[in-house]
């Protein structure tokens, strides 16, 4: 037989559309059905078919429109009711879905899919009895389908009827041995029945079939502890481990070789890079003239740290209060680059303070007398554990960072904020160090050295902080980094940067790009040979641009910054080119986790 596609034939397009649809080629299928409809505008079949494909694609409104059209063209046609119901169900409109299924079943009493789908709708409405009834009807009409068994099992499981659930899952698995979710849920049912070995076997099978059993369990119960609490019994350790989220690693180890404990081994590249960085320049602790430290331990923070209203009241009650109320920083609220006022004040009741000279303060502290007494230490109950002569370290220029942070968050403070022990302080006038310490190289090195490699917060630890290597740079290079730190301090305070208005998105990208420029210079500082071998230079081209220091910019500093951004992001500018291709340098890829 010889036939050819005759382009004017609606049936041909409909049929080919079905072929495409069955192969999952949704777009081609839709195109064909559309063509068929164009050729025969009252072609209910093609409308229904296109609706089905739209639903498969997740375009439910279009699916509903098409099915409605098919119904309108041929009101006795059951399929589009069922398909429209499915689309309503996908949209979460279960009542309308059920109405459509009712209609479909009325028109075609042995319509298996409609029963099954109505079961799903009831199921999602958590009307388990009705759902089970519909699934059973579908099974009665066609016992070869595994879906109704699986879902009836789910309904039983949710009702707490574990034996029936297990029976249904087993039937579903018999009909389709590759049905991973059935193993997973049967495993859950066994768990509820404390059949540990069977549970373990099923969970393992589910995992082998590609099911993320941890996520599935998390969706149902949050975690094993919650499950145990709900059920009132303990789960054996080995199963517990199977169902517990492993800690995610902050930096990939760059090698998929496992050691004897099946943990990924560190690649020599990582070990060598860490060693190389460690041997660069001078450790921060040695480089600094003054030792870094944490802020004051203000335990019972509510007693010593007050808001603006309390501060004003204290000063109004007695003017002497103003002398020991100091502007204060919480570590948690710090952002990069610039330490902003947080509208908090510290009652600086240092050791040996003549507390009676500050009657309003004393009265305030007396409200907390009991808890203050419980503190350990040598100070009086109304004192902080710090002497007056230590206060200078707050007043001099310094870098501050939170004691817990996700990414390097150093800020420059030249306003003399006092800090609690949620802050780590580095007294220095060399503000370029802020650029160095906020870089990814330093974050990578610090996380590696202090062995904090999981995705959790990094914790500031003075011993490790002081080991951060400070590369040897010329004063010009330091000044260049410092220039950008100054730009960033300025930008961080600008309203357009702090807004969320997308009209100013490019201003915020400028901030990100300037950070990236510092990043590039810091890479060059630590890894000059590697970068230069690959012809990547940042210091020289940036130096060539002769950018003005922030304080020398006349007029509108913001528009001057935007001009600098535009200049340095121009696609042929060597700064832009070298930054864009920086990650062709292998250590950069290791540090940025791009291996």
């Amino acid at each position: 037989m010889i036939t050819v596609p005759y382009p004017q034939d609606h049936i041909f397009y409909n049929n080919r559309g079905i072929d495409y649809g069955e192969k999952g080629e949704h777009d081609l299928a839709i195109k064909d059905f559309t063509k068929a409809i164009k050729l025969k505008p009252d072609y209910a079949l093609a409308y229904n078919n296109r609706g089905t494909v739209y639903r498969d694609k997740g375009e439910y409104d279009k699916a509903i429109a098409d099915c409605s059209k098919a119904i309108q063209l041929n009101p006795g046609y059951a399929e589009p009711y069922s398909n429209r119901g499915a689309a309503y169900r996908n949209k979460g409109n279960y009542d309308r879905a059920i109405k459509d299924y009712d209609m479909a079943i009325q028109l075609k009493p042995d319509f298996v899919q409609a029963y099954y789908n109505r079961g799903l709708a009831y199921h999602e409405k958590r009307e388990f009895d009705l759902a089970i009834k519909d699934y059973s009807k579908a099974i009665g009409l066609n016992p070869k389908l595994f879906h109704p068994y699986y879902n009836r099992g789910n309904a039983y499981l949710q009702r707490g009827d574990f034996d029936n659930a297990i029976e249904d899952y087993s039937k579903a698995i018999e009909l389709n041995p590759e049905l991973g979710p059935a193993y997973c849920n049967r495993g859950e049912a066994w768990l509820c029945l404390k059949e540990w070995n069977k549970a373990k076997a099923d969970l393992t099978a589910a995992k082998d079939k590609g099911i993320d059993i941890i996520a599935a369990f998390h969706n149902g119960y949050k975690d094993v502890e919650t499950f145990e609490r709900q059920k009132g019994f303990q789960v054996p350790e080995d199963i517990k481990r199977m169902l517990t989220q492993r800690l995610r690693v902050r930096y990939p180890k760059t090698r998929k070789i496992l050691d004897e404990n099946r943990k990924p081994m560190e690649s020599p590249d990582v070990v060598n890079l860490r060693e190389q960085l460690r041997n660069t320049g001078t450790p921060l602790g040695t480089y600094l003239k003054v030792k870094p430290s944490f802020g004051i331990k203000t335990s019972s923070t509510e007693a010593f740290v007050v808001d603006r209203k309390t501060r004003d009241n204290l000063i109004a009650a007695h003017p002497s209060s103003a002398d020991i109320l100091k502007p204060f920083l919480h570590g948690r609220a710090l952002r990069r680059w610039h330490a902003e006022p947080q509208e908090k004040w510290l009652i600086f009741a240092h050791r040996g303070i003549a507390i009676n000279e500050y009657p309003a303060i004393l009265k305030h502290l007396e409200n907390h007398k009991d808890s203050l007494h419980k503190r350990s230490g040598k100070q009086e109950w109304y004192e902080l554990p710090i002497s007056l002569d230590k206060s200078h370290r707050f007043l001099q220029p310094k870098l501050v960072c939170p004691n817990l942070y996700n990414h390097q968050t150093f800020a420059v403070d030249t306003a003399g904020f006092y800090c609690g022990d949620t802050c780590y302080l580095i007294p220095t006038e060399e503000l370029w160090l802020c650029g160095l310490l906020n870089s990814r190289v330093v974050e990578w090195f610090y996380a590696q050295e202090s062995n904090q490699l999981t995705i959790d917060y990094l914790r500031a630890r003075s011993g490790y902080m002081q080991q951060i290597p400070v590369p040897d740079l010329t004063s010009t290079q330091k000044a260049l980094i410092g220039k950008f730190v100054d730009y960033l301090i300025y930008l961080q305070q600008q309203p357009t940067i702090n807004s969320r208005d997308l009209a100013y998105a490019s201003d915020r990208m400028m901030l990100g790009y300037f950070e990236r420029i510092i990043e590039g210079m810091v890479y060059e500082a630590y890894l000059p040979d590697e970068l230069h071998k690959s012809r990547k230079h940042l210091f020289q081209p940036l130096f060539n641009e002769q950018l003005p220091p922030l304080e020398e910019i006349q007029g509108d500093k913001m528009s001057a910054c935007r001009d600098i951004f535009e200049l340095l992001y121009e696609k042929t500018n060597p700064v832009a080119v070298n930054l864009f291709f920086l990650d062709s340098v292998k250590p950069v890829r290791i540090i940025e986790g791009k291996l």
Binding site: D19, A215, L502, A505, E515, K571, F580, V585
Partner: protein
């Protein structure tokens, strides 16, 4: 820096060694090929070669692993070799990627990969349905998941698609404030990068559209995605595309935006995204069948854009549209910047191989292999020549050909039969030619006979070549009419 030679062996559709010479100048390449003929394998060879330089830690990314692309039944280990020259007189460097050798970790290749442009027709399929019935056209998915995947964020130095992945589920539990804040920050980063990028793109893309001869400007309206922590959903995944004639809105612009125009806009946006970023030394732009979505009148201006805006790039175009291929070939014939090649599909008893022909000389190729005593290769080229010839004839003369769901399954019988039927009416072929062809069709031109082909005397193969040549002459310049059978409806 340009590619001057490409060598492929046991890579996807290429079981045997293939060598494509792009000459010292590193010419651009236009490839014609049927589906399954290996043209997409060439596209993928280039793409994966460039991308293989960076070791991926992502276990799902198997494409970076050469073994994935090898046919394990072929003992010969596979490889891809690219030879590069900085300029015509520069020394040639060859880089190899195979299971054993990986010379692609070189900066040059890694950078070429980051700046490259690779777009295939599947990427643009979505444009065909975007406008359907909708008064507004939402191009969010098209842009984020396809066209802007190469775009690198200035803040995170990650591609937009990586930034997009970083805001995907699993979402934090309700009440997990720290994780939610951190997710929201990633969402803001994503929004900022995309919003500021779209601003640059719409200007550049409008410029390019003008060059495509669409006298319009596009506007991409993006209000930012938002994370809804109650429903755990990412809302407002919307970028609305509108089109203006200069400064005037086109009232029913969704009618204006037909498939071809949307394809053109998509291509313009893709080109802009590449042109806005820094260029690597080795600049590759590969377009696998993407231009066929455009109207013919707009395809030619695209060639001009490639010529002007991508002058420094080495361009690889592939197409299954023969007419378009011929036009490009003609247009690019002078100037010596382009090379045109054709791929045909060959089958042997062992495996399917693409038959690679530079400018249709497959009969000559068959003779070449005959002279080299490689009967097997000779037979493949001869059969390809025969199949292409009769298929083209049926197509050109609109002869009714048996309908097969899968066009690849059509074989020479399917084309030869209608020619014989037609011949009973018009008598264009003499009976002795038909007898010869029938004879050689079973002995030589049949893919299943190749196991024994070495036993066939050389003379007989020569006669077969001659018969096909006679057929070629006989088929030239004939005209016939169409007959139609009614297809059957099913559901």
């Amino acid at each position: 820096m340009r590619i001057t030679e490409i060598e492929l062996k046991n890579f996807r559709a290429f079981p045997r060694p293939y060598h494509i010479d792009l000459h010292k100048a590193g010419k651009n390449l236009i490839v014609y090929g049927e589906n399954g003929s290996g043209k997409s394998s060439l596209y993928l060879a280039l793409k994966f070669f460039l991308e293989s330089g960076v070791d991926s830690d992502d276990a799902d990314n198997k494409d970076a692993n050469f073994e994935t692309h090898q046919n394990i039944f072929i003992e010969d280990a596979g490889q891809i070799k690219l030879s590069l020259r900085a300029h015509q007189n520069a020394k040639m460097d060859t880089y190899e990627w195979s299971s054993d050798v990986k010379e692609t970790s070189d900066d040059l290749i890694i950078e070429a990969s980051k700046a490259k442009g690779f777009l295939d027709y599947k990427d643009l399929l979505e444009t065909h349905y975007l406008h359907h019935k909708n008064p507004v056209v939402n191009v969010f998915d098209l842009l984020v998941k396809t066209l802007l995947t190469n775009t690198v964020s200035r803040r995170t130095d990650r591609s937009l698609v990586e930034d997009w992945t970083s805001v995907q589920p699993p979402f934090p539990r309700r009440g997990a404030t720290t994780q939610i804040t951190s997710l929201e920050r990633r969402v803001e980063n994503f929004n900022d990068e995309l919003a500021s990028r779209l601003e640059m793109l719409q200007t550049k893309a409008s410029e390019i559209l003008q060059k495509f001869r669409y006298n319009v400007a596009i506007d991409l309206d993006f209000q930012g995605i938002t994370y809804n922590s109650n429903d755990k959903t990412l809302d407002n995944q919307e970028i609305f595309l509108t089109v203006k004639y200069f400064d005037k809105d086109i009232p029913e612009h969704h009618r204006f935006l037909n498939e071809a125009k949307l394809s053109a806009i998509a291509i313009a946006i893709y080109f802009s995204s590449i042109l806005l970023q820094p260029e690597s030394e080795l600049k590759i732009l590969a377009l696998d069948d993407v231009l066929i979505g455009l109207d013919m009148s707009n395809r030619l201006p695209v060639l001009d854009v490639l010529d002007e805006d991508f002058a420094d790039y080495q361009i690889f175009l592939t197409t299954y549209d023969k007419a378009w291929y011929e036009i490009v070939k003609q247009r690019t014939a002078h100037g010596g910047k382009w090379k045109a090649v054709e791929f045909y599909f060959g089958r042997t008893d062992e495996y399917e191989i693409p038959v690679y022909v530079e400018d249709k000389a497959y009969l000559d190729k068959a003779r070449e292999y005959l002279d080299a005593n490689d009967y097997k290769a000779c037979a493949i080229y001869l059969r390809t020549a025969f199949e292409v010839m009769i298929e083209e004839f049926c197509e050109a003369k609109r002869l009714p050909v048996r309908y097969r769901q899968n066009r690849d399954k059509l074989d020479s019988q399917d084309f030869w039969d209608p020619i014989k039927v037609e011949n009973q009416k018009s008598g264009i072929l003499d009976q002795s030619l038909i007898r010869d062809i029938e004879l050689y069709r079973t002995r030589i031109l049949n893919p299943l006979s190749h196991t024994t082909i070495t036993n066939i005397p050389k003379k007989e193969i020569e006669d077969a070549i001659e018969a096909v040549e006679r057929l070629k002459i006989a088929l030239q310049g004939q005209t016939l009419h169409l007959a139609i059978n009614q297809p059957i409806e099913y559901n």
